[in-house]
Amino acid sequence: MPPSRDAASPLAGPEPLIDAHAHFYHAGCGRADWAEVNAARLRAGDRIGITYHVASVLGSFGFTSPTYFPSPSDVTRGNDVMLDLCARDRERLRMKVTVNPNYTEHALSEIERCAAREAIGVKLAASRRADDPLLDPVCELAGARGMPILHHIWQHRRREWPSQEISDGADLARLANRHPKTNFILAHIGGGGDYMHTFPAVVDCPNIYPDLSGSGVDRGMLDAALDALGPGRLLWGCDLTIDTGLAKLRALEVIGLSADDMTAIRWGNAAKIFPAGSFPRCGMSRPRVGSAAPASMSEV
């Protein structure tokens, strides 16, 4: 599907924009409207002005194995779908390869297989606690290939929840400390849980980059993230709700970030942590990254 006419006048302005946390569906996901949802993501992305969707497919999304515990065969099928989507829409799509770390050899072979076909990142769902040693070989391989790992996160886990083995910022920080040469994307600070626990939990891990995605749009969340981590550590993203992604972009503008800081969050930080050359439509040179100065509390 070619970019729509909305690409000419995007709601979020003409500057490049990378959605660091996106998903696509396929016919094996058990929902009849899978193609419509995929099309809606691209439609809304064009209207906002998303230059690249960095996306993954989580197996069968629960149809033939659980979303967060995908079977090896579902992992492979989902990755095949994502590879195919990228091949057909190189203009807008980039891939993270999904793996289940409980199947170490399969996980490593999937990373090698998909990286050879231009996957640029790794997606870890919630199949194993983030600080579990089983994740180490995955992190080592991803780090060696320069592929950041997007890890599903529950902002402050206080108990177990069904259907996933959740991790929080503190869990991911332990993993990131063991792998200082690997970059990690902490998933969706607006995706449930208490983000105010996350920021201090990861502040001392410079290789952890929280993404802003998720349906949560609490006032104060963006201010707190900027205050704690600065714009050089945050990635813009949408996950399952592109409307909240647009709202957060508009809120960041109200906060009054500098142009360089907005660039960092919109696409610069992503360009910094994904392999060089992953996003040619974002410009030839790597951007300046955000300043360390915290933003002031705003009236967003």
Binding site: V37, A40, G192, V217, D218, R219, G220, D223, A251, V254
Partner: protein, 264 residues
């Protein structure tokens, strides 16, 4: 356009930046909104909200041309009918009630009395499904969400009832709407503050299925980003982008009360 789901005052379970009326007015200016129906956030958690209502009336008085008070009235509290008269005197276009926070079941008779009494005055009853995502709630925040059964029960209470249900998501809206007769459906309006946009397109699907006229503009400021409902409308598919939500004035019973400036 009026934001029918705004609040002032602090929230007991997390810090909320400057939830003050003068800030709200600046936010309305920035977002191009004419005014707001404003409740008093702490009153949802008071046993007796009457002192919170006094604070609300006092705090909004300097901004009467933009901010309309929506006091909280607890129908199992003595003299609640006089609180309703006070609301009328203050020109409130609506009142708020919080059945889960008051441990009221879905068929509580006092809630029906309140909905009917407010409706007979031409005032809407504003209900709140949730203040926060279930996944982030404080351990002491144990009230739970407002149930679909409670909304259906109030919508069925009588012809005069007008409900504005805030912070509902698609599943609840569908469960309530299709569980009411066509006449009962017209008594319920939904704010769009918690409805998902693309790629799932819940708002588009709801507008397509039950009509834009059942929805009103609401933000749940100061808890949530004011930009969210506007972003959702901006991202509607082409064929729905010209959809017009119901104006606040249509929520109040026609000719009985105005929704904008002060009306006594």
């Amino acid at each position: 356009m009026i934001d029918i789901n705004a609040l002032i005052g602090p929230y007991p379970f997390r810090h909320v930046p400057h939830p003050d009326p003068e800030v709200l007015v600046r936010v309305l200016d920035r977002e191009g909104l004419e005014g707001a129906w404003v409740g008093h956030l702490p009153s949802a958690f008071y046993r007796d909200p009457s002192l919170g209502n006094r604070e609300l009336y006092s705090a909004l008085a300097p901004f009467a041309s933009r901010l309309r008070p929506v006091p909280t009235i607890r129908p199992d509290w003595p003299k609640w009918d006089s609180a309703l008269r006070d609301a009328a005197d203050a020109g409130a276009p609506a009142i708020r009630a919080y059945p889960p926070q008051w441990s009221m079941g879905p068929h509580d008779s006092s809630m029906k009395e309140l909905a009917l009494a407010a409706g007979e005055q031409g005032r809407a009853l504003v209900l709140t499904v949730r203040f926060e995502d279930l996944r982030q709630r404080h351990p002491l925040d144990s009230a739970g969400d407002l149930s679909a059964a409670a909304i259906r029960s109030l919508a069925r209470a009588g012809e005069s009832v007008r409900l504005v249900v805030t912070a509902a998501s698609r599943e609840m809206i569908e469960e309530v709407h299709w569980g009411l007769t066509p006449a009962e459906q017209t008594r319920v309006f939904w704010d769009i503050s918690w409805i998902w946009g693309p790629p799932e397109d819940h708002l588009a699907k709801l507008i397509g299925a039950i009509g834009a006229d059942r929805f009103v503009f609401g933000t749940q400021w100061p808890l949530r980003l004011t930009q969210t409902p506007r972003a959702n409308l901006d991202l509607l598919p082409d064929e729905l982008r010209s959809s017009t939500l119901t104006d606040a004035s249509a929520v109040c019973r026609a000719g009985v009360i105005s929704s904008g400036g002060v009306h006594k």
